[in-house]
Symmetry: C2
């Protein structure tokens, strides 16, 4: 029952785990608009650059981001933009009263 679903569920869990950190959610949110280099993301986040680099690595390994070296900077971009649709539903979890109805009819 569970064992037959386990491999796929483990793969899905890895993707969700990669997203399940506030700094990584911030990165995904910022990359919605445009690609950004590590140094600019680091400035926005205000953590050590090695910390940001590791967060980017987690998202990249999960298949959520891709990167692109240009000059001496590395730019990251969203590989799968539909990730952003998650947030509507996550908000519905956080505010069940207002959001549930909206959520069912829309793309959350």
């Amino acid at each position: 029952m569970y064992n037959s679903r386990k491999p796929q569920l483990e793969a899905r869990a890895k993707v969700l785990k990669a997203l399940a950190h506030p700094t990584r959610l911030f990165i995904v949110e910022q990359l919605e608009k445009q690609e950004i280099c590590v140094c600019d993301l680091t400035a926005m986040i205000g953590a050590d650059i090695s910390t940001v680099s590791k967060h980017l690595s987690v998202l990249k390994q999960a298949g959520i981001l891709s990167d692109d070296k240009r000059g001496n900077q590395i730019f990251y971009r969203l590989k799968v933009p539909c990730i952003l649709n998650f947030f509507g539903c996550v908000e519905a979890v956080l505010n069940p009263e207002q959001e549930t109805l909206q959520c069912i009819g829309s793309d959350c």
Copy 2:
């Protein structure tokens, strides 16, 4: 920049973290169809009942499930069904080639 978004992103990360485990994804998937009691879920999963109970507690505390005592059993149900729409997009992350186009046009 990041600090102003941090509280909301932390809240969202908690929800995603609650989902980011294969056993918990299985539970959510099963509860799509109907509510199920702890003992039946335990049988389907094949882990210790205390382990399953703790997974259920994580999902409940995140606002994803609610429970309902009937007789001497406790039934759990999905509180926010749109959670299930996540998976289309998660699959798009896992199989970017085939799924990306579908995903953009649909509700993933």
